[in-house]
C-alpha cells in the first residue's frame, strides 16, 4: 500500500518536473535564442566578441560620474555598444563606465579598474571588478559612496531587470572598498547620492 503511494508520488513529481522543464524551454530559453533578437540569430554574439569594422549598433545609457561639486553623482547620457542579453548589456555598460570619460567628466572609479566578470541571478547583478577598485581607491566615505553607487545606480537605472547590485573585488565578496560602505549584500539604486538636477530621462529609468 505504502509502496504504491510512494511510486505514485514519484510519478506525479517526475511529471510535474517534466512539465516545468518544458515550460521553461518553451517560454524562456527558446525565445531568448530565437525570439526577440533583431540581428540575424547567430551573428549577434559573434559581433559582440569581435569589434565590427563598421559602426556597431549602439544604445544610449545614463552613466553616473562625479558631479561638479565633487560630492554627488551626475547622470550623463552616453553611447554604449548594444548587446542582446541583459547580462551582456550590463557588461558593456560597466566597461564604458570604467573607461576614462572625456573632459570635463570625472569617473568615480579608480583608473586601471577592469571588469573581471558580471553575472545575474534573479534581479541581482554581481559585478566582479579587479583589485584596483580597492587598492587604488583614494579613501574617504564620500569617495567610496560615489564609487560604489556610480556602478549601482548606472546598472539599475539602465536595466530594469537589475534591482540590486553587489560589487565583488578580485572574485571575492568584500566587507568594504576602503573601510566604510558595507558591501556584504547587494545594494539598491539610491538617488540620494545624485544631483537633484535629474539626469536626462533614459527610456528605462522610470522606476522608484
Amino acid at each position: 500500500m505504502t509502496t504504491i503511494t510512494r511510486t505514485r508520488a514519484i510519478a506525479v513529481g517526475a511529471f510535474a518536473l517534466f512539465v516545468i522543464v518544458c515550460v521553461w524551454l518553451l517560454f524562456i530559453v527558446l525565445p531568448r535564442r530565437y525570439g526577440s533578437d533583431p540581428a540575424p540569430a547567430a551573428a549577434a554574439p559573434v559581433a559582440a566578441a569581435a569589434p565590427a569594422p563598421s559602426e556597431a549598433r549602439r544604445i544610449k545609457a545614463t552613466l553616473y560620474y562625479v558631479a561638479e561639486d565633487g560630492e554627488r553623482l551626475a547622470g550623463v547620457e552616453r553611447d554604449v555598444p548594444y548587446a542582446a542579453s541583459t547580462a551582456e548589456q550590463a557588461r558593456r555598460i560597466v566597461e564604458e563606465l570604467l573607461k576614462a570619460p572625456p573632459e570635463p567628466l570625472v569617473s568615480a572609479l579608480p583608473t586601471g579598474t577592469a571588469l573581471r566578470a558580471l553575472f545575474l541571478t534573479g534581479g541581482d547583478a554581481y559585478v566582479d571588478l579587479s583589485t584596483e577598485i580597492a587598492s587604488a581607491h583614494p579613501g574617504g566615505s564620500r569617495e567610496e559612496i560615489l564609487a560604489v553607487y556610480s556602478v549601482v545606480n548606472t546598472l539599475t537605472t539602465n536595466l530594469p531587470a537589475i534591482a540590486r547590485v553587489q560589487i565583488l573585488v578580485g572574485g571575492r565578496e568584500v566587507d568594504t572598498l576602503a573601510g566604510h560602505l558595507d558591501l556584504r549584500r547587494p545594494l539598491q539604486k539610491n538617488l540620494r547620492w545624485t544631483t537633484s538636477t535629474a539626469p536626462p530621462p533614459s527610456p528605462t529609468s522610470s522606476d522608484r
Binding site: A108, H180, Q188
Partner: protein
C-alpha cells in the same frame, strides 16, 4: 615607490616601519585556582598569536597534527580542529571563524588567541573565559569582577569612583599611607589610573592582595567617607570622598554630575563612550596633497576628545586604537559592544576626486539596505522573539549582526546634535545628517555615528585639519554634543 616613501616617513617619525612578527605585546594572564600563569603573545599580521604548546600545557589539552589540521583533545573529551590553511576551526560540529590560520615557527605552532575564546571555551567543559581588553583568561568558577576606578577633584575634596561589575562585597580600610578596598573575589579585572600625584590622592593602583585596590593618600589627606550606590546596569558604584584636614573647607556634599539616580531605562545615561579613530596602520585612509594622513588626524582628535570627556565629564572613554595600528571594522565595533558603551563615535576624514569638495559630514546607519528584518528590529518587534521555524538561536545571530537597528532613532538624534555642534564651529556640509550603510556602525549595540571631519583632498581644509586650532574646534564641538545628548536623555 609609494611604499618606500611611507617607510621613509615611518622611519623619520621614529616608528617601526612594519609590525615585525615578534613585536612587543603585553602577554595574557591565565587565572585559575592554581594561581596566575603568563601566556606570552606575539603579533603576526595584526593578529595576536599564542604558542599552542603553552595553551595546551596550561589548559591540559593534547594536540596532534593531522593532514587536515591541528586536532585538540580537550579534557571534556571533545575535539576542536583548527584548520592549518585558513582561519577556521570546528568545534562540536560548528564552524568557527578565526582572524588567522595557525602559523608554524620551527616546530612550534602559534594560534590566534581568539581560538581560546571562540573555539576552545564553548566546548571546554569547565568554565573558560577570554577577556581580551583586560588580557585575562579565566579558568574555572573564579570571581573576577571588573573594577574601573576614576579620580576627580572638586573644591577642596577628591572623589574616587569605583564601578564594580558584577556587584561584589568589599570593605574599605585605612592604614598610614593608603586606603585599601578589598573585594571578596579571587582576582580583579581592574582598570586603575595609577599615579595621580595630587595633594589628596597620589595613586590608585593594584593593592597587596590579589583582590585589593590601594588608594595612596597624598600629603594633605585628612579624612574620608565611602558609600555604595547603585551603578549602571546592575553594577555597584563605590564612591570614596577624600577631604583635607578639618578646619579648611568643610566637606560640601559632592556636587557635579554624579547624582547616580536609579535609572528607569538602561539607555538613560552615558557612562561609557567608545571613540573610534578611523583607519590606522597599513590602512592610512585619505592622504592630502601636503601629505596629511587621515589615520593620524583621526587618532589625534580621538585622543584629545577622550581627555576632554574623561577629565571634564568623568565619563569612561575608550579608544578602539590608541596607536598607529591596523584593526578590522568588526574589532572596532566589538570594543564598543564588549565595553557596553552608551555611545559610539567613529572619526574619519573625507576625500573626493574634485578638490573643491569641503565641509564636515555626519552619518548614521541607513537600514534600507538591510531589508525588512532590520526594519522589524528597529520597530522593536524583535523583543517578542518571533517563532520562526528554526528556533531562537539563528535569530539571535541575526539580531547581533544588526544590533544597530534597535538604536537607530537615538543614533539619528545624536547625529543631529553632533551636526548642530559642528556647524557652530567649523564648515559643515549643507546636507545635514545623512544615512548610509556603513559597515562599522551595523553591529554597534548603542547609538552610533560616523563623523567625517572635513575633506583632506581640499588644500585649505587639509591645512586646517592638520592644525591644532581646527582639531580643538572639532573636539569642543563633539564634547558639546555629548553633553547635550546626555542632557536630553535625562
Amino acid at each position: 615607490m609609494l611604499l618606500r616613501s611611507l617607510l621613509a616617513l615611518a622611519v623619520l617619525a621614529g616608528l617601526q616601519p612594519t609590525a615585525p612578527p615578534r613585536s612587543e605585546v603585553a602577554s595574557y594572564t591565565l587565572l585559575s585556582r592554581e594561581g596566575r600563569r603568563t601566556l606570552p603573545v606575539r603579533v603576526a599580521g595584526n593578529v595576536e598569536m599564542v604558542a599552542l604548546d603553552e595553551v595546551a600545557k596550561l589548559l591540559n589539552i593534547s594536540v596532534r597534527e593531522e593532514a587536515n589540521g591541528l586536532v585538540l583533545s580537550l579534557p571534556s573529551r571533545q575535539n576542536v580542529v583548527l584548520s592549518t590553511s585558513q582561519g577556521l576551526a570546528s568545534a562540536a560540529g560548528r564552524v568557527i571563524s578565526l582572524p588567522a590560520a595557525p602559523m608554524r615557527d620551527g616546530r612550534a605552532w602559534f594560534v590566534p588567541v581568539d581560538a581560546i575564546g571562540r573555539a576552545i571555551a564553548p566546548t571546554y567543559g569547565t568554565k573558560l573565559e577570554l577577556r581580551k581588553p583586560s588580557r585575562l583568561i579565566i579558568l574555572g568558577d573564579l570571581r573576577v569582577p571588573q573594577v574601573v576606578a576614576r579620580h576627580e577633584t572638586s573644591g577642596g575634596a577628591a572623589r574616587v569612583t569605583v564601578d564594580i561589575q558584577p556587584p561584589t562585597p568589599h570593605t574599605v580600610s585605612q592604614d598610614a599611607k593608603s586606603l585599601t578596598v578589598r573585594f571578596e573575589a579571587d582576582a580583579l579585572d581592574a582598570q586603575l589610573p595609577g599615579a595621580i600625584g595630587r595633594e589628596l590622592v597620589s595613586a590608585i593602583r593594584q593593592g597587596e592582595g590579589p583582590a585589593d585596590v590601594a588608594v595612596d593618600l597624598g600629603p594633605r589627606f585628612g579624612s574620608f567617607r565611602s558609600a555604595d550606590q547603585p551603578g549602571d546596569r546592575g553594577a555597584t558604584r563605590l564612591v570614596i570622598d577624600i577631604f583635607s584636614p578639618s578646619g579648611e573647607a568643610p566637606p560640601p556634599p559632592p556636587p557635579v554630575e554624579s547624582l547616580p539616580l536609579p535609572e528607569f531605562s538602561p539607555a538613560g545615561s552615558v557612562r561609557t563612550i567608545v571613540i573610534d579613530p578611523g583607519h590606522g596602520g597599513d590602512e592610512r585612509g585619505v592622504r592630502g596633497q601636503a601629505g596629511t594622513l587621515e589615520k593620524d588626524v583621526t587618532l589625534n582628535v580621538a585622543r584629545r576628545l577622550k581627555t576632554a570627556i574623561e577629565t571634564k565629564l568623568g565619563i569612561r572613554t575608550i579608544l578602539t586604537r590608541d596607536a598607529d595600528r591596523t584593526i578590522t571594522l568588526d574589532e572596532r565595533t566589538a570594543v564598543a559592544n564588549n565595553n557596553k558603551a552608551d555611545l559610539f563615535i567613529s572619526l574619519h576624514a573625507n576625500g573626493s576626486r574634485r578638490t573643491s569638495a569641503t565641509g564636515a559630514e555626519i552619518f548614521y546607519l541607513s537600514l534600507a539596505e538591510y531589508g525588512e528584518e532590520a526594519a522589524r528590529i528597529a520597530l522593536g518587534e524583535s523583543d517578542a522573539v518571533p517563532v520562526f521555524g528554526g528556533g531562537t538561536r539563528e535569530i539571535e545571530v541575526i539580531l547581533w549582526d544588526m544590533a544597530q537597528a534597535r538604536h537607530i532613532n537615538r543614533s539619528a538624534e545624536f547625529g543631529k546634535v553632533v551636526e548642530a555642534a559642528l556647524r557652530e564651529k567649523l564648515p559643515t556640509s549643507p546636507r545635514g545628517v545623512q544615512e548610509a550603510p556603513l559597515r562599522v556602525l551595523v553591529g554597534a549595540n548603542m547609538p552610533a555615528v560616523l563623523v567625517e571631519m572635513g575633506f583632506l583632498t581640499n588644500a585649505q581644509e587639509e591645512r586646517a585639519l592638520s592644525g591644532d586650532a581646527r582639531q580643538g574646534d572639532i573636539v569642543q564641538a563633539l564634547f558639546d554634543a555629548v553633553v547635550k545628548f546626555r542632557e536630553a536623555l535625562r
